[in-house]
C-alpha cells in the first residue's frame, strides 16, 4: 500500500511538474499527451536497449549451449558488441532490387516495426506503471501482433523474388495457424481472471485479486493452467518465427525467406522487430501465467517504500527470452507439413480441451455452494483435470506422429498407381 501511494504520488508529482512547465492545470489534455509521450519514449528507450542486449545475450547464451564463448572482444564480456554490430549494419549499402516494387518493398520494411513497439503499450510493470491499461489489453496485444503479417506479405511481394514470396507465404500461413491455439489456450486464463486487461490479469494472480473474489486462490495461473501455458509458449514461439518454427526463413531451403532481398538498415529493421516481438511475447507469457510484476512471495514485493514490480517483470521477461533462446540452441527445425499439422492436429484440439475443462470446473465450482471458499479442493480438481489432459496430450502427440507420415505414403502409392484417381484428387 505504501509503495502504491508512493508511486501514485510520484506520478502526480510528474504531472504537476509538466503542468508547471507548460503553465497549465494538472488535469489538462496537454498534460495527458505529455505523459503519453513520456511513457512512449520510456518504452522505446527500454525496449531499444533491451533489444540490443538481447542480441548479445542470444549470442552469448547460444555460445555457452554450443560450448563456445560467444562475443568477447569488444568491451568487457563483449558488452559493446551490439553497438559495433549496429554501426556495421547502418553503414552497409542499402540495395533495392531493380525489379522490386519500390514503394511496397520499402514500406514493408518500415511497417514491420510499429506493431512490435505498440504492443508494449499494454505491458504493465507495476501498479499504475503501464502506458495504457486498456480494458481489452490482451486482445489488443494479439490483434496488433497479428497486423505484423501485412508487412511480411509486402516484403515478399515487393521483392519480386520467388524465395521471398515462398518465405512470406510460409510465414503467414504459420503465423495465422498458430494464432488460433495461442488465443484459445489463453481463454481459460481469461475465464478465471474475468478480465481482458493485462493489469487485471496480473492482479488476479495476487492475493486479494479477482481470483480470490470468485473462489480461486492468489496463485500464478501456470499452476492452474499448466497445459495452457505450454501450448501458449509453443504457439508464441511459432508466432515470432523462432526455432524450431523458423521455416519461413529456413536458410537451407529458401535463403532468408521474405527478407532475402533486404540489406543494411532495412534488414536491421526486420531484426529489430523480431527481437521486439520476442521480448514482448516473453513479457506476455509472464503476465498471463507467471504473475507479471508480482513477486513470487509477497514479502519480496517491495523494499521499504520501493515497489519491485519492475524488477520482477524484468526478471521474468529475461527468463522467457532465455527460454526462447534455449529452444533455438537445442531443438532442430520442423518440416513444413509437420509444422502445420502440429498446430491444427495437436495444439488446437488440446487448447479446446483445456478450455472445456476450465469452463466445466469453473461452472461447477461457482454454482455449487459447497465448493466456494475451498480453494484447495478446487485446485485438486484442476490438478486431476490437468493430469487427464496431459495423458490426452501424450496420446495425441503419439497419434499425430504416427499419422503425420501418411501424406508421404499416399503420395508414393499414388505415384505407383496404387490409389484410385478419385482418391488422389480428394
Amino acid at each position: 500500500m505504501i509503495a502504491m501511494h508512493f508511486l501514485q504520488a510520484s506520478v502526480g508529482w510528474i504531472r504537476g511538474l509538466i503542468a508547471g512547465q507548460l503553465g497549465l492545470a494538472a488535469d489538462a489534455l496537454w498534460v495527458d499527451l505529455a505523459i503519453w509521450l513520456i511513457s512512449a519514449l520510456v518504452i522505446l528507450g527500454v525496449v531499444q536497449v533491451g533489444m540490443l542486449y538481447a542480441t548479445w545475450l542470444e549470442r552469448k547464451f547460444l555460445g555457452r549451449i554450443q560450448d563456445r564463448l560467444g562475443p568477447n572482444r569488444v568491451g568487457i564480456f563483449g558488452l559493446l558488441q551490439p553497438f559495433a554490430d549496429m554501426v556495421k549494419m547502418l553503414t552497409k549499402e542499402d540495395i533495392t532490387p531493380a525489379q522490386a516494387h519500390r514503394g511496397v518493398f520499402n514500406l514493408g520494411a518500415i511497417l514491420v516495426v510499429p506493431p512490435a513497439i505498440v504492443v508494449f503499450a499494454v505491458v504493465p510493470v507495476g501498479i499504475g506503471l503501464i502506458a495504457t491499461d486498456l480494458s481489452v489489453g490482451f486482445l489488443f496485444f494479439i490483434s496488433v501482433a497479428s497486423t505484423a503479417i501485412i508487412p511480411i506479405f509486402m516484403a515478399g511481394w515487393g521483392s519480386r523474388n520467388k524465395f521471398a514470396i515462398i518465405g512470406a507465404m510460409r510465414a503467414v500461413a504459420q503465423i495465422v495457424s498458430y494464432e488460433i491455439p495461442q488465443v484459445l489456450s489463453v481463454v481459460g486464463v481469461l475465464l478465471l481472471a474475468g478480465t481482458l486487461s493485462t493489469q487485471g490479469l496480473t492482479l488476479a494472480q495476487g492475493n486479494g485479486g479477482a481470483g480470490d473474489a470468485i473462489g480461486y486462490p492468489g496463485l500464478w495461473f501456470v499452476l492452474i493452467q499448466p497445459i495452457a501455458f505450454v501450448i501458449f509458449l509453443l504457439a508464441t514461439t511459432a508466432e515470432i518465427e523462432r526455432t524450431p518454427f523458423d521455416i519461413p526463413e529456413a536458410e537451407s531451403e529458401i535463403i532468408a525467406g521474405y527478407h532475402t532481398e533486404y540489406s543494411g538498415l532495412k534488414f536491421g529493421l526486420f531484426q529489430l522487430s523480431q527481437y521486439f516481438m520476442t521480448i514482448a511475447s516473453a513479457a506476455m507469457a509472464s503476465i498471463l501465467f507467471f504473475g507479471g510484476w508480482l513477486a513470487p512471495l509477497p514479502f519480496l514485493q517491495r523494499i521499504g517504500p520501493l515497489d519491485l514490480g519492475w524488477f520482477w517483470m524484468g526478471a521474468k521477461t529475461i527468463f522467457f527470452v532465455l527460454v526462447f533462446m534455449w529452444f533455438r540452441g537445442t531443438w532442430p527445425r520442423l518440416r513444413s507439413d509437420q509444422l502445420m499439422g502440429f498446430a491444427w492436429k495437436v495444439l488446437v484440439p488440446l487448447s479446446l480441451a483445456n478450455l472445456l475443462m476450465t469452463g466445466l470446473i469453473g461452472y461447477v465450482t461457482q454454482s455449487s455452494t459447497n465448493l466456494s471458499g475451498q480453494p484447495l479442493l478446487i485446485l485438486l480438481f484442476f490438478a486431476v483435470a490437468n493430469a487427464l489432459l496431459l495423458m490426452a496430450t501424450l496420446w495425441l502427440i503419439g497419434w499425430w506422429r504416427k499419422n503425420s507420415e501418411r501424406p508421404r505414403i499416399r503420395f508414393e502409392q499414388a505415384a505407383a498407381g496404387e490409389l484410385p484417381p478419385a482418391e488422389v484428387a480428394a
Binding site: A422, E423, A425, A426
Partner: protein, 523 residues
C-alpha cells in the same frame, strides 16, 4: 436468461437438423471415404424433423430465445425466433423440399463427388437456415439466416469441383450474392438506427416492449423526424437482399448461370428452397414490420413494379433457351413473379375466403411439388445422358412413357391448366389481384402465362415427337426417383382437385402474419 425448456421443445426441428448434419459429417469421417449411407442418415434426420414439426403444430405458438430479467424472470425482450403456424408452414415446405431433393438426387450424386457426407450435411444446414428465415424475429437473425442459406447455396452450387461449369456457377452466384447481401445489411443497419433495437415484433409476449414494428407504427413521429427518407431506401436495400434469394428481377442475373452450372439436384433445391424461404422472410417483414399504412404506400408500388418486371422478363427470356435447366431458371423466375402478385394485392380487399397472402402461400405449396416433380425428371435424364440440353429430352415418350406423361402433367400445371395445382395457385393470386383492384397485374400475369405455353411446349414437343438419339435405349430410373415423381403427381392432382384443405392451411398460416384487425380497418 432464455428459457431452456421452451428452446428444446420449440426449436427441436432445427436442433434435429443441426445434430443430423453433425452426425452425417462424423459418420463420413468414421467410414473414411468409403461409399456409405449418408443419404439414408440425412433422410432419417429430415423425417425426424418433419415429425417434430407436425407435433409442434398442435402446440400453442411461442417466441423463443427471449431475454428475461435477472430478478423476476419476466420477459424483457421478445423472442428472436417465432414458432407458430406460419413458421411451421415454411418448416414443412423446407423439409419436404429437401426430402424430395435428397430422394431424387441420391443416385445422381453417387460417383459424381467424393464428398457425399459434406454434401448432405450442407443440405441439412440449408434447411436449418430456411427454417430460421421463416421464424426469425430479430434483424440480426434475419441477416444471419439469409447469409447462412446463401453460403450453403454457394458451396452446393460449386460442389462438383472437377466440373468447371459448376465452379464458375458457384463463383458468379457468390459474387452477386455477396454484393446484394452487403446491400441488405446496409439497409438493416439503417432500420436498426431508426428503431434503436433489432428485435422485430413483440410476438407472443405479454408485455409491450421496444421493437422495430412498434417504433415504425408510430408513423407520425417518424415522418416528423424525417426518418421516412431513411426507411424507404432501407426497405429497398432489404428487398434487394431478399429479392436475390427469390430471384426477382432485377436481382435475378445469377440464377440462370447458377441453375445451369450447379449439380442438377442442387438446381432443383435452389429453384424451390431459397425461394420459399425468401418469401417467408419477405411476407413477414413487409406485413408485420413495415405493414404500417404510411410506409406501405411507399413500398407497395415497388412490389407491384418488381412483380410485373419479374413476370415479363422471366417468361420472355425463357423463350430462347436451349438448355432445360436454364429454361427452368427463367420459368421459376416467372413463377416467383406470380407469387409476388399475392403480396402486391395485400391489404386492399380479398377474394372470397382467401387472404391475398394466403394465395401466395397456396401458390408456393402448389409450385414446390410441381417444380420438384419436373426437376426429378430432369435429374433422371441428366443422369442418364450427362446433359440437360433440349436434345437430351428427345423421344422421352419412347424411352419412358411414365416419365414423359408425368413431365407433361407437371408442365401443364406450371402453365396453369385446370384441374392441376398450378391452376389453383394462379387462380388464387390473380383472383386476389382482381379483388384488390390491381387489374393490370392480373392481366399481365395471364398474358405472360400465355407466353409461357410456348417454351413449355418446346420441351414437350421434344419429349413426345422427337426421336431418341442413337443408342439411347429405355430409360431406367431409380425407385427413389420414381417415388418422388409419384408423390409430386399425387400432390399436383390433389391440390388441383381438392384445394379445400390446402386453402385452409395457407389461410391459417397467412392469418398469423396479417396485421391486427384495427390496422386493416384503418384503411
Amino acid at each position: 436468461m432464455p428459457n431452456l425448456d421452451s428452446i428444446l421443445i420449440h426449436f427441436s426441428p432445427e436442433l434435429v437438423l443441426a445434430l443430423g448434419a453433425l452426425v452425417v459429417l462424423l459418420y463420413d469421417i468414421a467410414i473414411r471415404g468409403r461409399d456409405g449411407r449418408q443419404a439414408q442418415l440425412t433422410l432419417v434426420a429430415l423425417v425426424l424433423a418433419l415429425g417434430a414439426t407436425f407435433w409442434l403444430w398442435g402446440q400453442p405458438p411461442l417466441a423463443i430465445f427471449e431475454a428475461r430479467g435477472a430478478a423476476g424472470g419476466a420477459v424483457v425482450r421478445p423472442g428472436a425466433f417465432i414458432s407458430d403456424g406460419y413458421t411451421h408452414f415454411f418448416r414443412l415446405i423446407g423439409l419436404l423440399t429437401t426430402l424430395l431433393v435428397v430422394l431424387s438426387g441420391m443416385v445422381y450424386l453417387r460417383g459424381r463427388t467424393p464428398f457425399k457426407g459434406e454434401f448432405y450435411a450442407l443440405l441439412l444446414c440449408a434447411v436449418m437456415a430456411m427454417n430460421l428465415m421463416a421464424g426469425a424475429n430479430d434483424l440480426i437473425v434475419v441477416a444471419l439466416a439469409i447469409e447462412f442459406l446463401s453460403i450453403t447455396s454457394y458451396v452446393l452450387t460449386a460442389f462438383l469441383r472437377s466440373d468447371p461449369a459448376s465452379i464458375e456457377a458457384g463463383l458468379k452466384y457468390f459474387l452477386y450474392g455477396s454484393v446484394t447481401s452487403a446491400a441488405m445489411l446496409f439497409g438493416i443497419s439503417l432500420i436498426y438506427g431508426v428503431a434503436g433495437t433489432t428485435s422485430l415484433t413483440p410476438a407472443y409476449a405479454p408485455e409491450a416492449m421496444r421493437t422495430v414494428a412498434g417504433v415504425l407504427a408510430e408513423h407520425d413521429t417518424i415522418a416528423v423526424a424525417g426518418l421516412e427518407s431513411v426507411l424507404l431506401p432501407a426497405i429497398m436495400l432489404v428487398l434487394a437482399g431478399v429479392g436475390f434469394k427469390i430471384a426477382l428481377v432485377p436481382f435475378h442475373q445469377w440464377s440462370p448461370d447458377a441453375y445451369e452450372g450447379a449439380p442438377t439436384p442442387v438446381t432443383a433445391f435452389l429453384s424451390v428452397g431459397p425461394k420459399a424461404a425468401g418469401f417467408a422472410v419477405l411476407l413477414r417483414l413487409m406485413t408485420r414490420v413495415f405493414g404500417d399504412s404510411g410506409l406501405m404506400s411507399g413500398w407497395m408500388g415497388m412490389i407491384g413494379l418488381i412483380a410485373i418486371l419479374t413476370m415479363v422478363l422471366g417468361n420472355i427470356a425463357a423463350l430462347t433457351q436451349s438448355n432445360v435447366k436454364r429454361l427452368m431458371a427463367y420459368s421459376s423466375i416467372a413463377q416467383a413473379g406470380y407469387m409476388l402478385v399475392g403480396l402486391a394485392a395485400y391489404g386492399q380487399g380479398q377474394l372470397a375466403g382467401l387472404d391475398p397472402l394466403g394465395s401466395t402461400l397456396l401458390f408456393l405449396l402448389a409450385y414446390i411439388f410441381t417444380n420438384l416433380g419436373a426437376f426429378a425428371i430432369i435429374i433422371a435424364i441428366d443422369h442418364a445422358a450427362g446433359s440437360s440440353e433440349l436434345e437430351a429430352f428427345s423421344g422421352l415418350m419412347k424411352r419412358s412413357p411414365f416419365l414423359a406423361i408425368a413431365l407433361a402433367v407437371f408442365l401443364f400445371s406450371l402453365i396453369g391448366i385446370p384441374p392441376l395445382s398450378g391452376f389453383v395457385g394462379k387462380f388464387a393470386v390473380f383472383g386476389s389481384a382482381v379483388a384488390a383492384g390491381q387489374i393490370p397485374l392480373a392481366v399481365i400475369g395471364v398474358l405472360t402465362g400465355v407466353i409461357s405455353v410456348v417454351y413449355y411446349f418446346r420441351i414437350l414437343r421434344e419429349a413426345f415427337f422427337g426421336q431418341p438419339v442413337e443408342g439411347a435405349g429405355r430409360l431406367t430410373v431409380a425407385p427413389s426417383l420414381t417415388f418422388v415423381v409419384a408423390v409430386a403427381l399425387v400432390m399436383t392432382f390433389a391440390i388441383g382437385l381438392a384445394p379445400g384443405a390446402f386453402v385452409d392451411m395457407a389461410n391459417q398460416a397467412a392469418a398469423l402474419i396479417a396485421p391486427a384487425g384495427e390496422m386493416l380497418a384503418g384503411h
